[in-house]
Amino acid sequence: MDFVGVMKNAVSGLGLAPDAAMVTFPIGMFLPGSDITPVRARKREFYDGLTRWQSTFARNAAGAATMLSVEGASHEDALNKANNLLITNLWGDGLPLWPATRERVDWTLRGAALPRTHVIGKFPPRGGVTTVETCAVALAMAGGRPEYLPVLIAAVEAFLDTESGSDQLQATSGGPFPVVIVNGPIAKEIRLNSGFGCLGPDPQRPAGASIGRALRLLQQNVGGALPGIGTMAIFGAMRYTNAVFAEDEAALPQGWRPHATERHGYAPGTNSVSLVFASGVTNVQRRGAKKETPEEDVLNGMWRMADFMRTPNLAALQGYEKGTPGIMMISPVVAKMMAEQGWTQSSIRQFLWENSKIPLAQLKRAGAPAWFEIDANPVTRESIKLDPWPIARKPENIVLVVAGGDHPTHYYWLQAHSPRVVGRVMRVPESFDRLLADADRDLGCGSDACLI
């Protein structure tokens, strides 16, 4: 077990040199019933930490980003060596990377509405200074295009918002990953998927893969979330590309509002991101199999969803008061069917909230009360008095998004671990239309009409 990286990140994030006086032991000693005599055997190290330790970090690394260089017998050879260098410096993700050359970064920066030196913030927990250029470097490495940059920058701004909890969620063993929901016309303009397979790769709508991958590279390389060193994410699912998708606003039934309007109050048509930390992705089969009436079909599916949400695995604690217990993804055809039966976004949330409450006896059986007692939020601590316990303080906390393929068989539930749902409005450069025209030129028929 190596917690040293997490500790160094935390210290660095405070503006100290990334170093600290530490005495470390294998994980076994931290488990119930362990032999703790090694503490006694190594007491001198504790004493030295208080009296003799000195930081070995000699340099102040602040300043302009440095350039790396490789030489190869051919372009192919140089590219291979560049990828080897990125991996050996622990800056890769195991998939091929585009080296962020000046030319490629400058091209990517055509999507920026802010100067390249503009500081967005410090990426937690390591505290790496994150500029517009830093984002462009990551997007270039991830294979992204300039028109994706406004989405990435808005996502990074949301991520760096201290309310997001990212400083702790980056390091925690639960391995939450950012989910970026995009609203506004930019989604279709840049070919971001809102339909079939929207949480995975799609060559017809490829934007989400490289935006999410770039965000992940920033989390690791600038934020220090290196598996087993800077992040204790035990399993680390969805961490190649995170999840970046668009709501299918065109498919919203009459009277339903875009997610960004409901959650953040942005006017419909505003280009925006909404960032949630999720710790799981689950398919919930909702459709009937025989002769159900339309009403039975909908209600059965809603019960399956609520029953799934009613689980005492404690994931909902983080977002109890102001965050969310999760994101329910409803496909367009199901949203339409439900709306035709009079369901609204509000009534869906109300149903799920009422019917996902967990009996206190079930929480006690799972040992949950201790986690309530140590929760930082007094509202969450107090909520243990509710029996049954609602998985969110109010129904409005549940995120509903209309997205996915136009098919009725499944819901999708992104279990959250998210103290807030953070929104940001995007900025696009004045030349954005030109970037879209370039994309049509480079990638063929544009927008949603591109069907191979």
């Binding site: 917690f3 503490v39 208080l50 790396l68 260089s69």
Partner: protein, 97 residues
């Protein structure tokens, strides 16, 4: 020969404050604990207190629960102020795993 030059993707760090200077000796000092109460801290920290008191004449090691405990509290400004105002010469922070 082809040369490929590209950006270091790790960003830059900005050191804005120095680590606290170390103590010349532990004798006669006041030592505190800031604990998250997890990972067997309830067993390890009392052991450390006992060892420090046995090995250094005049050292005062405050009880483990002198300052607020738990992940939710140990990182906040109020706890930091309590530690600072208590007059301790050093603190040991534990446990992480």
């Amino acid at each position: 020969m082809v040369t490929l030059e590209f950006y270091d993707p790790s960003g830059t760090l900005e050191v804005t404050q120095q680590h606290a200077p170390r103590l010349a000796s532990l004798e006669g000092r006041r030592i505190g604990f800031v604990s998250n109460e997890q990972w067997q801290a309830y067993r390890m920290l009392p052991m450390l207190k006992e060892m420090l008191e046995a090995d250094f004449p005049g050292v005062e090691v405050l009880p483990v629960d002198t300052f607020p405990q738990g992940n939710a509290l140990i990182g906040n400004e109020e706890t930091a102020a309590l530690v600072k105002n208590s007059g301790v010469d050093a603190v040991i922070i534990a446990n992480a795993a």
